[in-house]
Symmetry: C2
DNA sequence: ATAATAGTGTCTTTCAGACACTATATC
DNA sequence: GATATAGTGTCTGAAAGACACTATTAT
């Protein structure tokens, strides 16, 4: 411990080297969906994208970076991230989650900066009206693979890789898939969303398992109309599909069953 | 964003209010095991305990608190936590994991302090030689329930509750149980460790499932002697029990199976 | 023999996984 | 009728869950 021996009357934090800032960085994910060109009804093509801003000033002027900014004394780190998210995208009330701290010495040429990284999951409909904020030259969505191949500012490539690993893991173990879907959705939409985030995911009997397995089925339920009949959607298909919604049930996983 | 418009030649972090420190707090868990008084061989009583220090100075002088200290500019937060853990307990090379940041305004009377919380899992044999460091009046292990009922310094009760929830969840979804066990262990030891951390855990056919289930058995394997026979232990029992060890296999859980 | 721990036998019900098949509606 | 999506029938083998039973050995 290098905490000084002090008391209330003579304690002075300024006697010690202190951080030069506590920024937040936010990896904003969205899944875009693009209907296939043909006139026929069919499943859209979905793609995982991240929102980046182009820096306007030193350091890393002109390079692309994660949105974020400095925390203030009057707010928690989490509130700071929410504020920055709203400032960057105009979006509030979306899923935002803290996942790691980045503190490698020299990671920021401006000084000793301890950065707190969040990921946010945003339905694409919320990102339509976005625009570049004051300190950004440009704001854009990039496919995740493309973003990871760019020469990003700071250690943002590492942060983004970590964020991707996080949401891939959470996609399979929690119900965050709901953040990318509408309230009501079909099984193929859910399946597509999972596959978009975790390309290796494959379950041939997906519909059967998700709808009939005792241990799993608590997480979703059928949507019924006012007559108690299953509510259907034919948005993507000739034959109408049953609509489902997530319940509030939080699944508990265990390797020891 | 409140990031200033600056460039390399005129950027001065000191123009903005900056944090007064970036401390780490470490929730050090151990499981003590106490042989039953009788002469007969029997399973020990196990208890989940946390290590606390008694503060020697303002603020919260005389109160019990989590060990920890201030990060330095030349190290990462993670390195800082490891350093503090070693300073407090003499222990290195144990499982230590970052889990959250605490930044509520006014959480520390010394100023704007953003605290980074870790949990460490330590086998009780490593905590025998511990002693109070310079800035602590005393160091002791407390049963987790007792510790949570104490009037702890700062927001350390919240941090400890969060840490407990974390290790309970990880106990069931990862192989961290190994951190509380020796390299080789019996099924009843493993079962006891899980139950000590997660009291609600109950599996009647535990041995059978963990040793025979295809999907789960990859995480542990039987220990064999040099003749290829199962290595046994009669430390706790009349009848000798098979010894197991964890493999390096990392189980992947999914709610969508 | 007793006690304490370590396992096995056996039954029923459910689930996983495969894959061919049927169903519905649009073009 | 071709096509695209949605879903069912049916089979096999494996696993879950319950619980009574046997096995081993220090005392």
């Amino acid at each position: 411990m290098n905490m000084p021996i002090e008391n209330e009357t003579n304690y002075q934090a300024s006697k010690y080297r202190t951080p030069d800032g506590a920024p937040t960085d936010i990896v904003i994910f969205t899944i875009t969906s693009e209907g296939k060109g043909s006139v026929k009804k069919s499943l859209p093509t979905r793609e995982l994208q991240v929102l980046l801003i182009q820096r306007k000033q030193w350091p890393f002027e002109g390079q692309w970076a994660l949105p974020g900014g400095f925390s203030m004394e009057s707010e928690t780190i989490h509130e700071s991230a929410r504020r920055e998210l709203t400032e960057e995208t105009g979006v509030s009330d979306v899923h935002i989650e803290y996942f790691n701290v980045y503190s490698t010495p020299q990671r920021d040429p401006r000084g000793w900066m301890i950065s707190h990284a969040f990921f946010a999951l945003v339905h694409e409909r919320y990102l339509e009206k976005r625009q570049a904020a004051d300190d950004a030259a440009d704001v854009r969505l990039f496919p995740i693979d493309e973003a990871l191949a760019m020469d990003l500012a700071f250690d943002h490539e590492i942060i983004m890789r970590d964020a991707l690993a996080q949401i891939q893991q959470k996609m399979l173990t929690t119900t965050i898939a709901r953040e990318f879907l509408s309230e009501e959705f079909t099984m193929s939409e859910l399946y597509q969303v999972i596959q978009t985030v975790v390309p290796t995911f494959e379950e041939r009997n997906f519909i059967r398992k998700i709808t009939s397995t005792q241990s799993r089925k608590g997480i979703i339920e059928e949507v019924l109309d006012h007559q108690g009949q299953g509510k259907m959607s034919n948005r993507y298909s000739q034959r109408a599909a049953q609509l489902y919604r997530f319940t509030d049930y939080v699944p508990q996983l265990s390797i020891y069953s």
